[in-house]
Amino acid sequence: MNNKFDALKDDDSGDHDQDPGSPKDGEKEKSEDEDKEQNARRKMAVPGAGEHPLQFNYSLWYSRRTPGRPASTQSYEQNIRQIGTFASVEQFWRFYSHMIRPGDLTGHSDFHLFKDGIKPMWEDDANKMGGKWIIRLRKGLASRCWENLILAILGEQFMVGEEICGAVVSVRFQEDILSIWNKTASDQATTARIRDTLRRVLNLPPNTIMEYKTHTDSIKYRRTLGPHTENLSEGVRICNESGGNDESGEGYLCVDWHCV
């Protein structure tokens, strides 16, 4: 019964993957196959014998904007890649230790850690009513902060039930941006708790300014800028820049540590 439900859900969300700009049947089938393949892998993610299970299964994703190409022509598949799904602490470390750290990334790229079944995009059912806390980091801090953030998520340190959807680290030209996404932007008790936990686990100085942004606001902001917003792949592209360009310029603040 559960499997059937999952399959339906996957089919639904799979539609979002389709790039409406390339409706060739062959390509469509291919991407559906890839989707199924990924689902199969995902379902296999169970804690091994003697391993430490996680409260939820998670997936790691990577995305990068190819330099010199206008982002709007890029599809979801070209931009974002699911690296792996894990169900235990040991499985997480296996993937994590086989990936370079965010601080060593170059160019316009992001790592995403999301709960299994939630796509790192605004349009996902789990995200569409949600929002994110944004912390801007000066260069050199991303790896350590990302590590602390995802360890706090995996270890269930936020204590907000099922509200956490995932987190993103965005490597940009002059700064790096951390964001943590939750399901219900209107739930102020939850967002306040996430903020306080973030301060604690990242050891943020008390005067650090953190910004909360709802995904609907992010989408609206983009709509006023670009004509491609009805296009779903554009929505995904925007998502890849989560916490990215759209905030630059306004209220820029750099987190600075005593301990660095």
Binding site: R81, I83, W93, S97, H98, L154, G155
Partner: protein, 130 residues
């Protein structure tokens, strides 16, 4: 009298429909009262016969909601160095950001030490400030 009672029965059973899926009973809309009564019996009976296995399954479904599995940062980091955590994952895509061998995570602990020192400094500053 009989007929009207049966109708009430059917009405009550209507919302319980999803149960049928569990027991794969094919009930054709049949006006025959005998088969109707039989169908009702079939439908009502199975839930009474839930075995221990089924019961445990139901209990397990509820499990994730009780008691959170939480780990502290230190505990997670301690697990990072176990040989089990250093193995190469079975499915690892070829990608520029993917490494062929596990990188050293020694820097984690180094950071931790710096981190702790920073915390102390911050605490000290707070103590000193009026």
């Amino acid at each position: 009298m009989e007929v009207s009672r049966r109708r009430v029965f059917q009405k009550h059973l209507e919302p319980a429909r999803p149960l049928r899926r569990c027991y794969t009973i094919d009930i054709e809309p049949n006006r025959n009262s005998a088969t109707c009564a039989q169908a009702l019996m079939e439908e009502v009976d199975p839930p009474k016969n839930i075995g221990i296995e089924q019961f445990l399954q139901i209990v397990n479904l509820q499990k994730p909601k009780q008691g959170r599995i939480s780990y502290t940062r230190d505990f997670l980091i301690a697990l990072a160095s176990s040989p089990h955590s250093r193995e190469k994952p079975e499915f690892l895509p070829e990608h520029p950001i993917v490494l062929t061998e596990a990188r050293e995570l020694g820097n984690l602990r180094l950071h931790e030490r710096r981190w702790a020192r920073g915390k102390e400094e911050m605490a000290a500053e707070r103590l000193l400030s009026p």
